[in-house]
Symmetry: C2
Subunit: 511 residues, 2 copies
């Protein structure tokens, strides 16, 4: 029903003339072979280095339960140093139980996502403390903007999933605002979302609230996941306890986890791509082993976030050639282990400008050519992740839609090869009125949302609006066009009651 409503809205908008052209919701598959930037031998060399890191150097873990779990499984645990060393056998044993793909189901079953295989899923930006739009400027994250971004994610079909807090609503208490953001995710959209995994409590709230929204029990959801989370590793080789707790809560309840080392070359790893990949790989595999120790068969994803810093300032950079290459080789590693693969669409620009666009293009192509199954931060990321941008979201949706069309296989049937159509037009003529054209022209080409193809005179006469100006008009229009997805009032009440009860429980007592 919700699917129909979306379709209906889109059509209505198109008819109105002022509506925003966009592609329909669809699961995106990548039918092309992924790019191989490393030979098989080179992938094995990375793997062997990672195994040495895990078995000779180990990972430091803050949190006793993780030490216990690994010790029980046969790891070498040094409690004085809180380090865990594991061998290749333990990694292999864990990989043997990891599913190569999994599904994520929101409260709208028609939005079910398959994560793995040739599927590719695009996520809303997550985590920025600030927001920006060209009308109101840059400001601290707040609930009003949070809600608007969720509305935009719901409205734009190219965004498949909500990340972990599109921006932090800083006016709300830090220890319970996740409840407000989860509620906004569930009521303002019908998409699945990423839980905050800082500690067990926040993860469990996400699991509980999605189960309520779906009208199922947490046990039922353990077999049919509804939420996901990102666990960041504090590279080099450090797992903090709140992240470990979040990971364990998710894995225990059958909800997928993405293990993503935060590996900026030159800062958290050596400056070389090979070393960064080896370290990233070791750290990701460690987290993946942990999920399987907690709950063999729990869904888990290989996360990559390897980019570089500006060696003159230490500032992080994204959408760089090194980042693009890391995106691609990381995919090779994930596939070596038959793991679903997550990467990102990031850039380091301070403003939605040429740099934001070309760095994003580089990152997107790296993700797609790397065979990513999830592109996190795919829409709205600006300023190295410190700002969620309205105009950047529009730019990104356009780039994602272009990519979705590039990924649509070409039809080479005889009718499409069109010999008769070619024969029907004289030399030097044109095909505008040809029957073959008339039968197909409305859907033949991708119709862009942001690009303007009118000629210079027409463009100038219409106000000479550049793409950034048009992007502002598009998100404003999208918010006007937005229609909230229908929710059973009883479920809404249950969600509200859950939030109220948990806020009471949390009080000032949880961090």
């Amino acid at each position: 029903m919700s699917e129909e409503r979306r379709g209906g809205r889109r059509q209505k908008s198109s008819r109105g003339g002022a509506g925003i052209a966009q592609l329909p919701w669809r699961a995106v598959e990548n039918p092309y072979a992924s790019l191989q930037m490393a030979t098989e031998e080179e992938v094995e060399a990375i793997h062997r280095t990672s195994m040495r890191i895990l078995s000779e150097l180990g990972i430091r873990v803050m949190g006793g339960r993780v030490l216990d779990l690994f010790e029980a499984a046969g790891a070498i645990v040094d409690r004085s140093e809180s380090t865990i060393r594991i061998d290749e056998g333990m990694v292999d044993a864990a990989l043997a139980t990891v599913p190569s793909s999994f599904t994520l189901t929101s409260r709208n079953p028609s939005r079910r996502l398959t994560i793995g295989g040739r599927n590719i899923t695009f996520g809303l930006v997550a985590g920025p403390p600030n927001v920006h739009d060209c009308v109101n400027g840059r400001r601290a994250g707040n609930m009003r903007d949070y809600e608007n971004f969720i509305r935009l994610a719901h409205h734009f079909n190219a965004i498949h999933i909500i990340g972990n807090q599109v921006t932090a609503p800083q006016e709300l208490p830090a220890n319970n605002r996740h409840l407000d953001t989860y509620r906004a995710n569930l009521t303002l959209s019908d998409l699945s979302f990423h839980c905050t995994a800082i500690g067990r409590g926040r993860a469990m709230d996400g699991i509980n609230m999605m189960a309520i929204a779906r009208g199922i029990t947490v046990d039922q959801m353990a077999k049919d996941p509804g939420v996901i989370t990102i666990i960041s590793v504090n590279s080099p080789r450090l797992f903090d306890d709140s992240m470990g707790d979040g990971l364990m809560a998710m894995a225990e309840h059958g909800q997928p986890v993405t293990v993503t080392p935060f590996t900026l070359m030159g800062a958290m790893t050596p400056v070389t791509l090979a070393a960064a990949l080896a370290q990233q790989n070791a750290e990701a595999l460690f987290g993946i082993v942990l999920t399987q120790l907690v709950n063999p068969g729990a869904p888990v994803m290989y996360g990559a976030f390897t980019s570089n810093v500006d060696m003159r300032s230490g500032a992080p950079a994204f959408g760089t050639p090194e980042n693009t290459k890391a995106n691609i080789v990381s995919g090779q590693l994930a596939r070596r282990y038959r793991l679903p693969y997550r990467t990102s669409n990031a850039n380091a620009s301070n403003v939605v400008d040429l740099q934001a666009a070309y760095e994003t293009g580089m990152a997107t192509w790296g993700a797609v050519m790397g065979g990513a199954n999830m592109v996190y931060h795919a829409a709205g990321w600006l300023e190295g992740g410190l700002t969620a941008s309205y105009e950047k979201l529009v730019l990104d949706v356009e780039i994602l839609q272009n990519m979705m069309e590039i990924l649509r296989p070409i039809d080479f049937s005889d009718a499409e090869l069109g010999f008769d159509a070619i024969a029907s037009v004289p030399t030097g003529g044109h095909f505008f009125g040809a029957e073959h054209t008339m039968a197909r022209y409305e859907s033949a080409f991708y119709r862009p949302m942001l690009s303007d193809w009118t000629n210079y005179g027409g463009w100038e006469a219409a106000g000479a609006k550049d793409a950034l100006t048009r992007a502002t008009a598009i998100w404003q229009q999208a918010l006007r066009d937005y229609e909230e997805s229908v929710m059973d009032p009883a479920i809404r009440e249950e969600l509200d009651a859950y939030v109220a009860r948990r806020k009471e429980e949390i009080g000032a007592g949880e961090p």
Copy 2:
């Protein structure tokens, strides 16, 4: 010597602080497997359709000598309709004599280009009637701007070759201004360039003048090409006589030709990608056969320029998903015939904005993933090719440099895998001061020309300049930094005398 001088200038600029960081001149190789968007069977289906177009429908040719050549070779020539039909055998015979790669040598032998194989060459935009920069606005093409663009092409190492008239100097007589532009190419840069191939005279002038600049004879240059040209087909299926004459003059003298059908889907071809590719392929192969009838073994390149039009307005569009896919499958076709492959880096934006950047990114990735040997219009193309843009040139050089770095193979040696470096840094520490880092940090990462990675506060304090504003400063700086390549005064005199003599000869007599 010129190489050293360039290097010297670059270094000097870097030291000065205000200089522009850029990559050194280098031949670019694409080490990765090209993307396959069509299966082998699908490529054969395109091929078969093309053969039907050539043998059943034929190509219309304006110009008697072409009819004679094809007739002598056994083609079916209909003189009343001026059409030529050829069979697959004639195509195969021609392909058997085409070299799979060739070189282009300018007056500076260290700038020798290899076109074919895994090499990829980036060309300056060609043909726009207008120019634009953000300081002086949009204006008609003129010699002053022409010269500035040649200086920029010489200055920026990512630009390997000059296209056919970066802009038309409209204040000069149309029938002899090619002499002025050739002289500018030869004196202001040391790059090879594309001749204007409208008629035999313009092609011969380019050949003669490059031979003078190199201090060799035209006969010597026939064995060691120095200039190249683009022959456009007036799709569908029409070769005009001036283009035919230009092609024949080049082929006779052993200079390479790129045969590029002008195939905008929906206008000059059917709306389907499959049909457009079949028609493009037929038209390109026809021109390629002609080069071999004129001079077996003459270097020739497969050109692709398939994009789509906006079906609502008929306006051409570039950097679209369809254009990107065409770029990729065209590469598969070129490789099927073992032909060097030319495509383009185009966009349809009226201004250097987000659209210009993301459409260019799509086109560039399509070209690179398609295995292009030459990316024509790689730097400076704006407004669907109607404007040569200074800021777009800077944007493009940055994108090209990013791509050059992406194409540099990753080193997976033990030293780069850096196990010892990883072992040397404690968990949660950082690698800024590590020995492994210190030994490599200066050259570890690509240093961008246009991207600004400073944090928001620093960026704001420095004037909050977006990338477009920075691009203006960069081309201005490049023109200040530009150093003309030394030319023997005797050669310069000979060039001047040639231009004067030819202007005299041409008078008002040639079109």
